[in-house]
Amino acid sequence: MSRRPWLTVFVKEARENLRDRRTVTSALLLGPLMFPAILVVMLTAIGGRIASDLEKTLKLPVVGAEHAPNLVTWLRQQSVEIQPGPADPKQAVMKKDAEVVLVIPPGYGEDWRAGRPATVELHYDRTHDRAQTTLRRVRSLLEGYGATIGALRLTVRGVDPAVARTLAIEERDAAGVDPLLAMLVAFFPYGLIFAAFFGGMYLAIDSTSGERERMTLEPLLLNPVPRAQLVLGKLAATVAFSTVSLTLCVAAMSFGLTLVPEMPNGVQLSLPPLKALQILLIALPVVLLASASQMLIASFTRSYREAQTYVQFFQIIPIVPTLVQMLSPVEATPATLLTPVLSQSVLISLVGKGRPLELAQVAMSWGATLAVGMLFAAAVVWFYRREKIL
């Protein structure tokens, strides 16, 4: 028995398009690798910036240094460059003349000697992003000084300093690290969807409006093969290219993140293989949606160029859910899970945050996306059955 007709069409379309440099480049390089490459480059750059903030000499304007000579000496020993304080600390931080100003009030010495908590003031502007690293460093230095002296006082009185430490807190701040970083992470789902759309684009166009333009459509339709089989073969080839592109994208993302040096502030983005596989499975139904919708659009157009224009324009639409999600976080409700593309975006960010996935959620996303994809595919078959196809 010979091959099923759709398989013959699939093999021919795949073989023919593998010989086309543009199709191969978009399916294997441009589509899947563009977003991971941008991500890796940007992350490395952000990491470098944070590192240089941390390593540069900490300059600290101090008002009233004479009230606490020991503290100031200790700070100098920690390589802090002590600068004379401004006349008006509040104005100085508001005008961003200084990132952080330390003010030591006159009562410091008296409190210190009496064993009471001695007050020091830190002036800073919470909305000044770049001051945050400096603030954290100053605060941790001051806390370190306070803890050291406190421990010494207890030791002098014959008490184990560990008694006074009821909690040992280690901070791991993951959220709101850097607005740029947050944006990159938010674009992650779109990067995958882009790869799925871009991977099969040229094949979808080539096998539909390209076929008509090259005058091969009429001879093709003269074969004793149901038109649904022809459409199925072409769709399968587009889906295959799209799947390869999507898989490469996830793999490149997973591998690319291992190349990014760990952020000096302890933040490390990573996509271990298991998570990558989860994300791939979540995104997979998009390939059918992308392929079938591109074929439908390309079928209606008269020429390759026209098809390319419309298909590329259409490709922008899936970015909408991503933008919506950036403006206000979308929850995983039945309504969002039944919306193709948005549901993938929501589920992928859940995986990204390390939340557990419910099978029902994934099933809803899969079901709705595949249903819409099949609707598009059915529309292509309908289109090919019309007399007007030529």
Binding site: S2, K12, E218, P219, L222, P224
Partner: protein, 244 residues
């Protein structure tokens, strides 16, 4: 054998084919002659089941083409007006693709393709990508592709269109050879000389209707003209469009 009865087809208000009936026998070349726009291509497209007639009946070797279009297409080799090739496939791959879609198994496919490559002298382009083929090489490949499943009936829409003298001669020789094998051949043309030199039976079509039918001699007699060209002009009613 191909039989048509009272075919009619309209596109909106345009009545492309109004009433076309004829029968094309095995071992004969039947020519569909008519000026441009007479309804030849529409008639052929209905014959090869790409268009569905509004009315009428088509039988290919006795198979009702309207009821069983796929079965009818298995018995047809068609060289349609659009005869593009897949440019990134070789001539052989182009031929084999259609053979597989016709359901040939690999052994039969290899044997048929080898034979067509030999008969149509496609040896030097067999393994070359179709990009850059000459017009003659393109048409020969398209014919090989149409014949790959060895059907009994051939439909050709203006087969010599755009061919140079040598390629045209080769095409005529091929059609005569296929007639010698007992096949039923129908081709359309607007070139009187071509139809006159090749055809056993001529069907003259004008304004969507058959206006004359028979051997060249019969058509001359029918029109009462001793010159075939004058006879054509007379049955069509005008000389317009017959100039090649």
């Amino acid at each position: 054998m191909i039989e048509l009865e009272s075919l009619a087809k309209s596109f909106g208000a345009v009545r492309a084919v109004q009433d076309v009936s004829f029968r094309a026998e095995d071992g004969r070349i039947t020519g569909l002659l008519g000026p441009n726009g007479a309804g030849k291509t529409t008639t052929l497209r209905m014959l090869y089941t790409l268009l569905r007639p509004d009315r009428g009946r088509i039988a290919i070797d006795g198979v009702d083409a309207l009821a069983r279009p796929e079965e009818a297409r298995r018995r047809l080799a068609v060289l349609p007006d659009s005869r593009g090739l897949y440019k990134r496939l070789t001539a052989r791959e182009n031929i084999e693709y259609f053979g597989r879609l016709h359901g040939l198994d690999e052994a039969a496919l290899r044997e048929r393709t080898d034979r067509l490559v030999r008969e149509l002298e496609l040896g030097d382009v067999e393994h070359r990508h179709a990009e850059g083929f000459s017009q003659g090489q393109r048409v020969k490949t398209a014919i090989a592709r149409a014949l790959v499943h060895a059907p009994q009936n051939l439909l050709l829409d203006e087969p010599t269109n755009g061919l140079d003298v040598m390629a045209t001669r080769a095409m005529r020789a091929l059609l005569r050879r296929l007639r010698g094998e007992g096949r039923c051949i129908v081709f359309s043309s607007h070139i009187m000389q071509e139809v006159a030199s090749l055809c056993d039976v001529i069907v003259v079509v004008a304004h969507g209707r058959v206006v004359a039918r028979g051997s060249p001699d019969e058509i001359r007699a029918q029109a009462g003209e001793s010159n075939l060209e004058d006879a054509f002009v007379k049955v069509i009613g005008t000389g317009e469009g017959l100039l090649a």
